[in-house]
Every structure is written in C-alpha cells, then in structure tokens.
C-alpha cells in the first residue's frame, strides 16, 4: 500500500512537461540576452555623449579628481560619522514623538480636544515648513534665548530634524492606524479591552505593518537630510567637503560626500524593496497574475 508521500515522490514529469520547461528556459534566456544587449548599448551611447562633449576635461578636473578625492576621504568619513550619530538619535526621537502625535490625533472625545488640536497644528506646521528654515530657527534661535550657554550645533541640528520628521512619521502612522478595519476595533472593545489597550495591542501592530514601506522611505529621506545640519556649522560630511573645497577650489569632495551618502542609504533602500516584495507576495497567496 502506498501512502500519499510515496505517490508524490513516484510522480515524474511527463515528456510534455519537460518540453514546456525547456521552452520556458529558452524564452527566459532570450529575454536576459535582450536585456544585456540593450543595457550595453545604452551605456555606450551615454558614455560616448559625455566623454566627447567639449567641456569634459575641465569637468573631470573640477568634479572627478582622484587625488583630491583620496586626500579628502578621511575628513569626510569623519564627518559622516557625525551624520550617522545624528541619524541614530533623531530616529529614536522621531519614533517616540511621531507615535505620540499619531495617538494624540486619533484620540476620541471632547475632553481631548486640546491634545488633538496641538497634534494637528504641529503636523500642519512642520510638514509645511522647509527643513532648512526649521534648522535656522532652532540652530540660531535657541542659542539666542540663552546667550551664556553654548549648545553644540549637532545637538541643535538633531532637534531640528526630529521636529520636521516626527510630523511626517506621525501622519504616516495615523494613516496606517486608520487603515485598520473598524471591525477590528469593534472586536477588541467587545472583548472588554480599553481604548488604550485596543490601540496598543490591536490597532498599532496592524497599522504599523501596513505602513512599514512608507516609514522606511521616510527613513531613507532622513538619512540624507541629516546632511543639512552642516548649515549650522556642525562639521559633518558635507561641511568637511566644503572645507576641503574652500582650500583646493575643487568640487570633488562634494562628489565624494554624495557617493558616501548614497552608499549609506543603499542597504536600507534594498531592504525596503525586499520587505515590500515579501508583503505583496503574502497578500497574493501565490498565483501569477
């Protein structure tokens, strides 16, 4: 007597199925080849256009000078380390403030009107204000309040970034919480959970899952915007590049700093794509449409 497992292993694909697999293999081989050829062709055309343009040599000197790039690298890396520290603390701050704001905005009942109004006003204001202006106001306004105390520019910059991004993150979180179907709240309240418990145990976990790609996108955006703290005089990667540029009259350090920022964000971007793809696959329950 054969069990199902034995029957499954005994089954072998027929001639027809093997032929079909061979056909699909050839078809995918063809499309890889087409992609390869078109990519090479595109690169050659684009490369020729740039390299044969009349100003290429001077551009290469001013922006892609390998010697200056190598010389400026240690200083810029040192600056980048400051950016990473700012990013680390800003992320924690944004997560806390953003969640608080989102919860405040979703509070029901007339008693909470002031909290709701504050949260709404805050998100309206800081989503509208350009980051640069917030940085100026915080970076030069707070020290002016206490002329005798000296605040490090990096700290003020972190606060500025935190103020701006927590407004965005709060809105994303709120959208996620509202996307959780009302029947989930009804079910949770019917079990006797309080409003706060319902939020914490049922709504936020589901809402968060829905908006993870959007949140990661905000994180990637913040990763490069921490470079803006250079306007406050903090010696970060961009400021370090500017210092080298001022002494060499060459823009290569900026290119180096830019590439380092791209390298910094690259793992996060790939991770975002990966998680989005995984979530899409889970929602589709197999199937190729």
């Amino acid at each position: 007597m054969t069990t199902d497992g034995a029957a499954a292993t005994a089954w072998q694909p027929s001639e027809l199925e093997l032929e079909r697999r061979e056909f699909r293999r050839r078809a995918s081989g063809r499309s890889v080849l087409v992609a390869l050829v078109s990519t090479v062709l595109f690169a050659v055309v684009a490369g020729t256009l740039v390299l044969t343009s009349p100003g290429w040599e001077s551009v290469q000197q001013a922006f892609f000078n390998p010697e200056i790039a190598w010389e400026s690298l240690p200083k810029i890396l040192e600056g980048l380390w400051l950016n990473i520290q700012v990013l680390f603390f800003a992320t924690i701050g944004v997560a806390i403030i953003g969640t608080l704001l989102a919860v405040m905005r979703s509070l029901r009942g007339p008693v909470f009107f002031p909290l709701r109004a504050i949260a709404t006003g805050y998100t309206d204001l800081f989503r509208g204000l350009p980051v640069l202006i917030v940085l100026y106001l915080v970076g030069f306004g707070i020290p002016a309040l206490n002329p005798t105390t000296r605040f490090p520019a990096a700290l003020l910059g972190t606060i500025g970034i935190m103020l701006c991004y927590s407004a965005y993150v709060a809105e994303v979180l709120r959208a996620g919480m509202e996307a959780v179907h009302p029947s989930q709240r009804v079910a949770a309240r019917s079990l006797g959970l309080s409003h706060a418990q319902t939020l914490r145990l049922v709504v936020i976990p589901q809402g968060l899952r829905k908006v993870i790609p959007a949140l990661m996108n905000d994180f990637v955006s913040m990763q490069k915007d921490v470079g803006l703290i250079s306007v406050l005089g903090a010696v970060d990667a961009i400021r370090a590049a500017q210092i080298v540029q001022a002494s060499t009259y060459n823009f290569t350090p900026y290119v180096v700093a830019g590439l380092l920022f791209v390298a910094l964000s690259f793992p996060m971007i790939r991770l975002t794509d990966h998680i989005s793809a995984k979530m899409a696959a889970r929602e589709q329950i197999g199937g190729t449409v």
């Binding site: 199902d4 029957a7 499954a8 089954w11 694909p13 027929s14 027809l16 199925e17 079909r20 056909f23 699909r24 078809a27 197999g286 199937g287 190729t288 449409v289």
Partner: protein, 245 residues
C-alpha cells in the same frame, strides 16, 4: 469536436504538497458540471489552473481545441474567453455597476462603449438589477453584488463559465436569487463548471456531478447516481457529512 474543455492528466504541486494528482475531465458544450468535495480536495486549485492563475506542473488543458497550457499561448487572450465568478464577488469598488460589467467588453474586446452599455443594461434588467445600473457596489446587498459579478463574467459571451463557490459568502436568504440566475444561464445554454457546497442545487441543476478527493476525481456521474447510490466509500462519507448537518 464539441468538447469545450478537456483536462488531460493535470498535476499541480505547491512545494512538496501534491494538490492535483492527475485530473482528467471533459466538459461538452452546454453542459453544467458541478464539482463537490471537502475543503482542500483541490476544487479551487483546479478552477485556478483552468483560468491560468496557477500554472500546471504537468498535463494539458484544452479549451475548444486550443492547448492553453502551451507556454507560447497568450494568457490574456485565453482568460478573455473564460468567465469567472469568485466567492467574494471581487467587484471594483471605485466603479459603478454598469462600468464594472462593461469593463472587459470595452477595454479587452474592443466593443463600442454605447453598445456595451446597452448590453449591460439589458442583462442587468433581465436579472432584476435594472435600478442598480448607476449604483456603486458597496450600496448593494451580497446577493445583488454576486449577480452583478455574474453579469460581468457573462457579458462578453465566454465559452466557459467558472463559478467558484459563489454562494459561500452569502446570507442563506440571498443564496436563492443567485442560484436562480445560474439556473437561467443553464437554460440559455451556457457551459458551466462550478464548485459548490449547495448539494440540493447541485442535484437539481447539474448534468454531471464530479466528486474530488485528495487531488483526484474519485467518482463522477449524473446527480441521481452520485447522490442516490455513490459507489466509493469516501463519497458516501462526504455526502453523509454535508447532508446531515
């Protein structure tokens, strides 16, 4: 050749899970075939392979003489020839009823919009939905939504209609109106393959009942035979369970 659909030794595996273990089935023109069987017996997977939503791992599916499992076949063209109705209706919530039912006619079959609309209104009216033409789906009851979904599937005169447990998500009060519609489709000569748990309906409307068990067709025949004197022990057990609830 008057077979609309032929399945030859169809296999489907999800990883190590052998869901369809060699299914052979033939459906003639104007025939109504009802699939019955326990959850997990492969009914839905079988329907999904016919609509090419799942790719078969072996065997052939032939639609009116064309091998639709040929990897060179145009998947969209094949699907345009088959009408599908789902358990959860799957109407497009952002479109009015009339736009839902005429979408494929207008965008896939290139039918003139005015002509498609006239046909849509005519079909909706015939099935008692004449006053819902300009409504949005969420204003309709489940039974009305499912009838709209059936109109959407038949508006382009498909060669074959796949109905996958179309009454399972409905209030018992609303099941009748949907089944009446299916019965009138049968009277008009549609070729239908349907999976259902409504045994009394299967008994009255089916030309042939097919019992699926663990990924195989275990037994098939006229409804009187399958329901009256099933030969296989598994069929007897299944029928005893679903009819003595």
């Amino acid at each position: 050749m008057n077979a609309v659909l032929e399945l030859h030794d169809v296999h489907k595996l999800f990883g190590d899970n052998h869901v369809l273990k060699g299914v052979d089935l033939e459906i003639a023109t104007h025939e109504v075939v009802v699939l019955i069987g326990a959850s997990g017996s492969g009914k839905s997977t079988l329907m999904r392979t016919i609509n090419l939503i799942e790719r078969v791992d072996d065997g052939r599916i032939v639609l009116s003489g064309d091998d639709i499992t040929d990897p060179a076949a145009d998947v969209d063209k094949v699907r345009a020839r088959i009408g599908v109705v789902f358990q959860h209706f799957n109407l497009f919530p952002h479109m009015k009823v009339i736009d839902n039912v005429t979408l494929a006619a207008r965008k896939v079959h290139g039918m003139d919009p005015a002509e498609a609309k006239a046909k849509g209104v005519d079909l909706l009216t015939r099935f008692g939905l004449g006053d819902k033409v300009d409504e949005y789906p969420d204003r309709l009851s489940g039974g009305q939504q499912q009838r709209v979904a059936i109109v959407r599937a038949i508006l382009t005169d498909p060669e074959l209609l796949l109905l996958d447990e179309i009454t399972s998500a409905l209030d018992p009060m609303l099941v009748g109106e949907v089944l009446d519609l299916v019965r009138s489709l049968k009277d008009q000569g549609s070729t239908i393959l349907m999976a259902t748990h409504e045994m009394s309906f299967a008994r009255s409307v089916a030309d042939r009942v097919v019992f699926m068990h663990q990924g195989r067709i275990l037994e098939q025949g006229p409804p009187e035979e399958i329901f009256g004197s099933p030969r296989e022990a598994a069929t007897q057990e299944f029928l005893a369970r679903v009819t003595h609830r």
